[in-house]
Point group: C2
Chain length 231, copies 2
Amino acid sequence: MPITLYDLAGAEPERRFSPFCWRIKMALAHKGLAVETIPWRFTEKDRLPQPNQGRVPVIVDNGTVVHDSTAIADYLEAQYPDRPSLFGGAVGRALTSFVQNWTETVLHPGLIEFAVLDIWRHAAAQDQPYFRQSREERFGKTLEEVCNGRETRLPAFRASLAPLRRTVERQQFLGGAAPLYVDYIVFGAFQWVRAISDFEVLAADDPVSAWRSRMLDLFGGFARRHPAYGD
Amino acid sequence: MPITLYDLAGAEPERRFSPFCWRIKMALAHKGLAVETIPWRFTEKDRLPQPNQGRVPVIVDNGTVVHDSTAIADYLEAQYPDRPSLFGGAVGRALTSFVQNWTETVLHPGLIEFAVLDIWRHAAAQDQPYFRQSREERFGKTLEEVCNGRETRLPAFRASLAPLRRTVERQQFLGGAAPLYVDYIVFGAFQWVRAISDFEVLAADDPVSAWRSRMLDLFGGFARRHPAYGD
């Protein structure tokens, strides 16, 4: 029986843009586990299986409900130890935390200021008022104001990628010669923006762009096949 | 026969402040390897054994000369596989690169602007002209200008530590329950500044400060015993 994944969708049901759901979709592919995704919208909190925190990803695996991407990754690693490892052991798991924390304190905050208006544009009609109101409260300004002049912020954003850039120009993946969950964490952020925005955040000759392309190639071009902008 | 380590020293021979040498001193302690350090000054390039790049750390181990902290760590791991691992395996080695790149592109550049004048003050008299000239060329301004108003940069610097802070408030060490070379990389940066500056870069209640204190406690308070400022 495939695992069920509640996966954030836009107005088009196949446009999936949650960075946290992308982590899990890549992790499931890494483990070779079959998945059936259910498109879910921000305002469909009542449709999620219990327990949950009103957010996706949520998975159901043989009746077991797990929510929160980190908890799901740990669950998959523990539940399917004979499948390819997501972390490469305890040290890999510990160091993945640092990269995750970098992703969530540097990469996500940088990207959201490029893409939040494009997320709103691609959101389902029923989600748009909720999304606009909750994000405008968080930012203390309109979505238009957040994204205004985003081109001018590109150099600082690209500079902030230095730790990632320097790593993936010297090794194929963050996990080394092969990708691991840590790669999916960082990739999820780029795929989030790529799914809903034609604003290219990476220069074509950036080693990060080459790494992202390697990620898009994984699992037979799995992520590349999904509705998105860019190559 | 103990390993010989050429270790950057200030005017006081026991004041050792190279972040890269601290990585290796902690790594040698981690492996339980005996070491004899030779105080070395920036301008003593002719005193280093061959081959070298005019910088420390350089080690001599049974006649084998290894230079560059990363090459030395890899050498120690390969040469002493039965001693406690510095990386915890190939994945740990790969992920250590990301944290090292973060350290060298975020942490070091942030810290040097607090401490470069204090380094000059503590440098050996013979090193001071070289140090001032080479660093003023690099910065395009005087050391005094670099450090001017450093208090005003503290909030941005402390904000830049978010990935480290969030990690070490949830686990004892970057490596997990026990420290690994990745911890020594980051610790080396803080110990660098601590060795030569009374300017406290961390708030007392910062989880990073608690982690630094755990690092200072390692190996019977090894790093804490060396000439430095602060607790």
